[in-house]
């Protein structure tokens, strides 16, 4: 099941790329379609951040992951590189769990 999802979604993502380079530009140039497509990554990434940090199964919780996210916000505001942000958040969460 996991393998099927990986391969289907993987091939699907490739076809989405190929479609972009192949379809005549006017097809998606309706302003509403373009705006929605532009906003979808923003909405999905924000939802993923929220669920990844504050959900545990079907419960909403505040734990070491929230502290990690706060550190990530600070590092991003300081224009830290991606890897520093990601591992900085991990480090803080790990240290908090070590102390708890």
């Amino acid at each position: 099941m996991t393998w099927a999802a990986i391969l289907l979604a993987g091939v699907g993502c490739y076809l989405l790329k190929l479609a972009g380079l192949s379809v005549p530009p006017r097809v998606l140039q309706r302003p509403v379609a373009e705006r929605v497509a532009d906003l979808i990554p923003v909405a999905l990434l924000a939802a993923l951040v929220a669920v990844q940090v504050f959900a545990l199964g079907q419960d909403l919780v505040l734990d070491a992951r929230a502290a990690g996210l706060a550190v990530a916000v600070g590092l991003l505001a300081l224009r830290a590189p991606f890897l520093v942000v990601v591992f900085g958040a991990a480090l803080v969460a790990a240290l908090l769990r070590l102390l708890a």
């Binding site: 190929l18 923003v42 999905l44 993923l48 951040v49 990844q52």
Partner: protein
């Protein structure tokens, strides 16, 4: 678009910039590999995602949904929705790159945020192709090597929560989102989407909350009329 030949110096400058972006981005693959194994995927499944799917946000989303206990189908749908932005990149780049046939089939696989950012600003087809391929191929090679490294290391270290790797996923998503948050409408959409997703968490199986948040994008796209100034990510 004039079809000019590039001087050796121009080509070298574009390749140098592209490789810089390629090395920095490819290294993220380590965090993807570690996070994916932490989410319960095997090393082979993790490497298959980087080889076949090869678009970072979709890959992180897929393993993120599975880590939260979601069905593989929900993970796949979320990955596909996030992958739609590559279609938009392709629509913009097609008249500039002008590839056909087998070359287009091959080039499509490396159509991602960074290769778009490093080619769309070029004024000639030749320069755009060099920027696109140098960035895309460098990231493809390094991302896959780094994924393997992270996955192998990740599966050897035991419970990933001890190392805070579950917190790393949220930070990675936020870092991918961050460049888009300079725009006020995007901030509103992001906050609303996060609120919708968290509101649905107690009510629905994992994976559904994230998909439901796409409805916020639909609503905002229909109700507003201004184009998005942050559409293309800056090269990092």
């Amino acid at each position: 678009m004039p079809e000019e030949t590039l001087s050796r110096a121009q080509r070298a400058a574009i390749v140098r910039d592209s490789l810089g972006v390629g090395v920095a981005t490819g290294a993220y693959g380590v965090s993807f590999g570690a996070v994916s194994v932490a989410a319960g995927l095997s090393v082979a499944q993790t490497c298959a995602l980087s080889l076949v799917m090869f678009t970072g946000a979709s890959q992180f989303a897929f393993v993120g949904v599975l880590a939260a206990g979601g069905a593989p189908l929900s993970g796949g749908l979320t990955a596909l929705l996030l992958g739609t932005r590559n279609t938009l990149y392709g629509l913009r780049l097609a008249p500039l790159l002008r590839w056909r046939g087998a070359r287009r089939l091959l080039a499509s696989q490396v159509l991602i945020d960074e290769s778009t950012a490093m080619s769309m600003t070029r004024t000639t087809t030749a320069a755009a192709r060099v920027g696109f391929l140098a960035t895309g191929v460098a990231i493809f090679v390094l991302w896959n090597l780094a994924t393997l490294l992270g996955a192998v290391a990740g599966s050897a270290i035991g419970d990933p929560r001890t190392y805070g790797l579950d917190a790393a996923v949220g930070a990675a998503f936020l870092a991918l989102l961050w460049p888009r948050l300079t725009d006020l409408r995007n901030r509103v959409v992001a906050l609303a989407a996060a609120a919708v997703a968290l509101g649905i968490v107690p009510l629905a199986p994992a994976g559904v909350p994230v998909l439901a948040a796409a409805g916020v994008a639909l609503l905002a796209g229909v109700l507003t009329s201004r184009p998005d100034p942050t559409e293309f990510p800056e090269a990092r």
